[in-house]
Amino acid sequence: MGSTIIEKIIARNIGAECVKPGQIVTVNVDRVMIHDIFIPFVADKFEEMGFTKLWDADKVVLIYDHLVPASQLDDARHFRKGNEFAAKYGMKHVHRSDGICHQLMTEAGYVKPGNIVFGTDSHTTTYGCVGAFSSGIGYTEMASILGTGTMWVRVPETIKVHITGKLAANVTSKDIILTLIGDLGADGATYKALEFSGDTVENMTIASRMTMANMAIEAGAKCALFTPDEKTAEYCEMELTEAESSLVGDADAVYCKEIYYKAEDFVPVLACPSQVDNIKPVRALAGTEIDQVFIGSCTNGRLEDLMAAAEILKDKQVAPFVKLIVTPASRKVYREAVENGTMEILAKAGAMITHPGCGLCCGRTGGILTDGERVVATNNRNFLGRMGTSKVEIFLASPKTAAASAVAGKIVEG
């Protein structure tokens, strides 16, 4: 009998012929990511556990992004703790202002197809865009991986999502994943893997796949997987081995659920306050006045996202009294957007362009709002109080919808 992608990755990792959902196995971890908010806790737990060295310093990546730039008095303490930990245990991979962790993990080549990767952040599911099994964990488990290099996992059931056809011009992969989350519900994939296939995803850029894998957690998923292909190889600057390109869900694999979509059926959608699965077509809310637009985050802060926004904002102005905040996902993205003229278009339109980082998405600075204000944002969460008070309304959308709404001063389709 065949296997799903996640079953193949786990089986290969533990050297088994095959594994079955429900099985509890101990995997060898290929790479881990820790970010600035949690490094002090990881460091403390690591030492409390009695470890004296990292299992493999080369496999540990430390990234400062949530607190860059620091906005509160104690933020710098996280940098200090991180720097001390990195120096003490000989860590080589430390990024102090290069962008959002999930963007860097793939962009800087830390994750390869078939890898098993854990991070102290729920959106670690992102690396499924290159066919890696990646998932978020807490700081205690991270500390134990740092010492042992291993982690127990329960082999998850897989939900397969087939998407075929061509998307409309104003629809992006963000609209697909939001629609899927709406259909599944915020807990519809809890403990499960999502596996995407079909020519629509095959034709997508890695960046677009990243958006989808990133948000899998919003349906509760443990991970999301795309089959590595030529685009993956190019993105990862490698040639795929046979093992890597065979990370395909087999025809006779067992799925707990299969969902079929036609690309043509997708329309621009929004996740409405205050749950990510509260999905409505943009059209249904068209005309709703807004106060701010945020384009950025590990979900939609990449070059193609900024370019999509710039295409709409070219020779236009952000509506009066509306703020547009653009926070690129990484230093590389920022530089590329400067080089190809995207930043100039955005700045001319009136965007405030900040340094790459989590920015407003993590709700500590970068455009916090107050009672009665509405924001259209390209990030991944619209939870109550995520970007200010609990009376802020957050609408999640694609960069196209966001940019068009910034110009109109109200919610409109891109």
Partner: protein, 418 residues
């Protein structure tokens, strides 16, 4: 008629009288009224709660700028921004948000020679670079002027600075003004105007002049004024404006004191914690370990400053344990820097590049420094706790010195870098 200083002439014109002299108190017509998000919400509260008949004398005089916490860092500041935005929208007040630091926005878009401008911000004295009398006021004064169009001023005595010569290579206007503040001390110009003229002035760019005037409040000055020459008039023309009136101090005008400053003698300077007048030659601070470096603010965030920083940073990397924040003073500066490829140099060097705003200089929303940390900054102030934790240290220096220090990880002047 009795000879007058520039400050006296501007006040006389604003008061509608022929002649004023230091020590007089006059009722004046105010030309422009700047306010920012540091205090505008308080002014609005007073407007609603303290006035019997709330109204605005002349809305066209008002310029409101959100610049201190941009993008917003907390629900509390978001609420005060919203209050300001809603009020501006309701009353048709000229309103900027995210366009840059208020004083830079004013210089680029509003200030005209000969005007009397109140700003609800101490660094309003920057406008003297264009021969305007700019002075910082509190909310009550601001509100009174907003409602009546008028205010009262005590005509200040003037300290005159005659500039000769030219700043040496690698020495900047910021070194000049820090040297002056060190010389006359943090209250050396209390209630006074600081007037700059002489042949040396012609060698200073507009950016230099704004940096000098802007910091005069750190010597306690009520305002700063510079003679309006071709450099100033060209700047004005470039920005599509004409002077209200070009005033020049009269021969024989009364000065409280006259200083002669040879620009050629100025050297790179650092103001040590925790006072702006605590200045020493930069080299004396060489080796002090830093955690953060900041290039920006209304004092030193203009394109000329960014060029200086970029020249130091090109081909170099920021020290891995130092956070360098580069923050243009305005969106216009940001776009110019983009065009000139400076942003790419900063990005390549490892700097953190932010949108135009007060940033680290204000110390509450970006680049907040932690306990025991040391910052070297082109900001306006190095008071205790100004940039973050009460137990932290701020050194002020030029963009060149800050950039060089960011590379070295310790305070260093640009000429000391390998």
């Amino acid at each position: 008629m009795k000879p007058m200083t520039m400050a006296e002439k501007i006040i006389a014109a604003a008061a509608g009288v022929d002649c004023v002299q230091a020590g007089d108190i006059h009722t004046v017509e105010v030309d422009q009224l700047l306010s920012n998000d540091g205090t505008t919400h308080l002014t609005i509260d007073m407007y609603h709660n303290k006035l019997k008949h709330p109204h605005i004398a002349d809305v066209s005089k008002l310029v409101w700028v959100v610049d201190h916490n941009v993008p917003c860092d907390s629900p509390k500041t978001a609420a005060s921004h919203k209050k300001m935005r809603d009020f501006a929208k309701e009353h048709g007040i000229t309103f900027y948000e995210g366009a840059g630091v208020c004083h830079q926005v004013m210089m680029e878009n509003h200030v005209r020679p000969g005007e009397l401008i109140f700003g609800a911000d101490s660094h309003t004295c920057a406008y003297g670079a264009l021969g305007a009398f700019g002075t910082g006021v509190g909310c009550t004064d601001y509100l009174y002027a907003m409602v009546t169009g008028k205010s009262w001023v005590l005509v200040p005595e003037t300290l005159r600075f005659n500039l000769t010569g030219k700043l040496p290579e690698g020495v900047y206007a910021r070194d000049l003004i820090l040297t002056i503040i060190g010389q006359i001390s943090a209250n050396g110009a209390n209630y006074m105007a600081m007037e700059f003229g002489g042949e040396g002035l012609a060698t200073l760019t507009m950016a230099d002049r704004i940096a000098v005037c802007n910091l005069c409040v750190e010597a306690g000055a009520k305002t700063a004024l510079m003679e309006v020459d071709d450099v100033a008039l060209d700047y004005l023309k470039e920005h599509g404006r004409t002077p209200k009136h070009v005033f020049k101090s009269d021969e024989g005008a009364q000065y409280a004191k006259v200083y002669d400053i040879d620009l050629g003698t100025i050297r790179p300077i650092v103001a040590k914690p925790h006072f702006v007048d605590n200045v020493v030659p930069a080299k004396e601070c060489a080796g002090v370990k830093i955690d953060e470096a900041f290039i920006g603010s209304c004092n030193n965030g203009r394109i000329e400053d960014l060029r200086v920083a970029a020249a130091v940073l090109k081909g170099r990397k920021v020290h891995p344990l130092v956070r360098l924040l580069v923050v243009p003073a305005s969106q216009t500066v940001y776009m110019q820097a983009l065009k000139e490829g400076l942003m790419d140099i900063f990005m390549e060097a490892g700097a953190i590049v932010m949108n135009a705003n007060c940033s680290v200089c204000w110390g509450s929303c970006q680049g907040v420094i932690g306990e025991g940390e040391t910052l070297i900054s082109t900001g306006t102030r190095n008071f205790k706790g100004r940039a973050g934790h009460p137990n932290s240290f701020v050194y002020l220096a030029s963009a060149a010195t800050v950039a060089a220090s960011a590379v070295a990880g310790v305070i260093t002047t640009a000429d000391m870098l390998e």
